[in-house]
């Protein structure tokens, strides 16, 4: 039933969807530092948008490796579009995609609900925090400030890359376009026998 590995169709669809998000990622940059001066890490609430390619692509195509590929592709798209953050987006994209992928793998690529996607968003958040720890000395912030920073990022990630990504894909399912993408399931075969 399910073929091993990604076929060209899967890769191309993932990359195309991811590059769309790559443009969103690029546009998100100016928005992020426009919100920043409002103070007290409000900007962290919208950070989660940078995790959304992985979760949306996984929900759409439902195959192993798609989340990682999507996040890397989206980061590359952002990078090639001339991101203000330059090189670091490639590293962030890779690590964020990897942790999201690991969450999906932990459920053996069998669950496609809000909870799993939100958990993947949490995974990506942890990945970004680990890099921030090395790059941004975030451990040197005052503790109340650091708590606010981390808390806001987790909340934003779950809302945007978890819940919102899920509802986006649900809406896409209504258009029927997702039937083109997903591997045939056991139910599909069962329905033929009826």
């Amino acid at each position: 039933m399910q073929t091993k590995g990604l076929k060209l169709t899967d890769v191309l669809t993932t990359v195309v969807v991811a590059i769309v998000f790559g443009i969103v990622y690029k546009v998100w940059g100016p928005l992020y530092y426009a919100v920043k001066p409002l103070g007290l890490h409000l900007d962290q609430l919208i950070y989660g948008m940078w995790f959304i390619a992985a979760t949306v692509a996984y929900l759409l195509i439902r195959k192993p490796g798609v989340a990682l590929l999507a996040e890397v592709a989206a980061a590359s798209g952002e990078f090639l579009a001339g991101s203000e953050w330059g090189l670091e987006v490639l590293f962030y994209g890779f690590v964020q995609g990897l942790l999201a992928e690991l969450v999906f793998a932990a459920f053996r690529y069998k669950r496609f609900d809000v909870a799993v996607v939100s958990l993947a968003a949490v995974g990506s958040t942890i990945a970004s925090l680990v890099l921030d720890f090395y790059k941004g000395y975030i451990d040197q912030l005052a503790w109340w400030n650091l708590t606010l920073f981390i808390g806001a990022r987790f909340v934003g990630a779950i809302i945007i890359a978890g819940v919102f990504a899920y509802s986006l894909v649900k809406a896409l399912e209504a258009t029927g376009v997702t039937q083109l993408l997903r591997p045939t399931t056991k139910e599909d075969y069962d329905s033929l026998d009826k």
Partner: protein, 264 residues
């Protein structure tokens, strides 16, 4: 990706894209483990000089490219300056607590981000995406199905932009291009995203079928329309980067701007 801005083809454009990527990427790791602000300031000066002299773009364009960097510099350094830990207090007002340590740490972070941004911009402005993916296939043995997928996706971008315009105008004429409140804004994002994504997926499917028919997937040794090789310019780049890195360390040691050697 270059936005069609007029420029000269300098030796930086002639370097091998994979080599350039492999020279730039380790710099991220190197920079993250530098804690001396003097070194970072010197490197920033050095690489900005490299960019201005050899990117082949006109000075007024280069200065325009640098405008967003200013925002990033301020936005990355400000949190640390205002809320960072430190001993020597300079200023305290409510939650804001500026110390000498947090100030230098903040500025250090600003320069760090600035350096990443310069490397990113230098790469993006001197590399043709098409040659990057051809080079990745030839030098880095990236599988053709990935490389050609990226190339196809990049070619689809103008169509997507056009579609975005169409959707935007269609919504505007129906007075549906604006929304209030947080929920409203999310609804609005969907209103744009659903048609754009569904059309992109359909198009990707059609293109994928065509590409499979034309054997873009086969893993056997293949020939390439663009032959990308390594050359003397890659050596130049290596030498230039090493020189700037070494000089930065030397100057930071001999003529420091600030007395602090470690901002942690």
């Amino acid at each position: 990706m270059r936005w069609g801005i007029e420029h000269k083809e300098t030796w930086l454009h002639q370097t091998n894209p994979t080599a350039k990527l492999l020279l730039f990427l380790p710099m991220f790791v190197v920079i993250v483990f530098v804690h001396n602000p003097n070194v970072l300031i010197n490197w920033t000066i050095g690489f900005i000089a490299l960019f201005m002299l050899f990117s082949g773009y006109r000075m007024k364009h280069v200065l325009l490219f640098f405008v967003p960097f200013l925002f990033i510099f301020i936005s990355t350094s400000s949190s640390m300056i205002l809320f960072g830990k430190g001993e020597t207090t300079w200023f305290r007002w409510g939650l804001i607590h500026i110390t000498e340590e947090s100030f230098y740490r903040g500025v250090h972070l600003g320069f760090r981000t600035l350096l990443f941004a310069i490397f990113g911009l230098m790469f993006a402005l001197t590399t043709k995406p098409v040659l990057l993916f051809y080079s990745l296939m030839q030098q880095a043995k990236l599988k053709p199905k990935y490389a050609y997928s990226f190339l196809a996706a990049i070619r689809l971008l103008p169509i997507m932009l056009e579609e975005f315009q169409t959707v935007h105008q269609a919504l505007k004429v129906r007075r549906a291009a604006k929304a209030n409140g947080f929920r409203g804004k999310l609804e609005l994002v969907k209103r744009y995203a659903i048609p754009l994504l569904s059309q992109s997926i359909r198009r990707a499917q059609r293109i994928a079928v065509a590409m499979e028919a034309k054997a873009f997937t086969n893993e056997r040794p293949r020939t390439f329309y663009y032959e990308v090789t390594l050359g003397k310019y890659d050596v130049y780049l290596l030498v230039v980067i090493c020189t700037i890195v070494a000089l930065g360390y030397y100057v930071a040691d001999m003529f420091p701007y600030v007395a602090i050697k470690d901002v942690r």
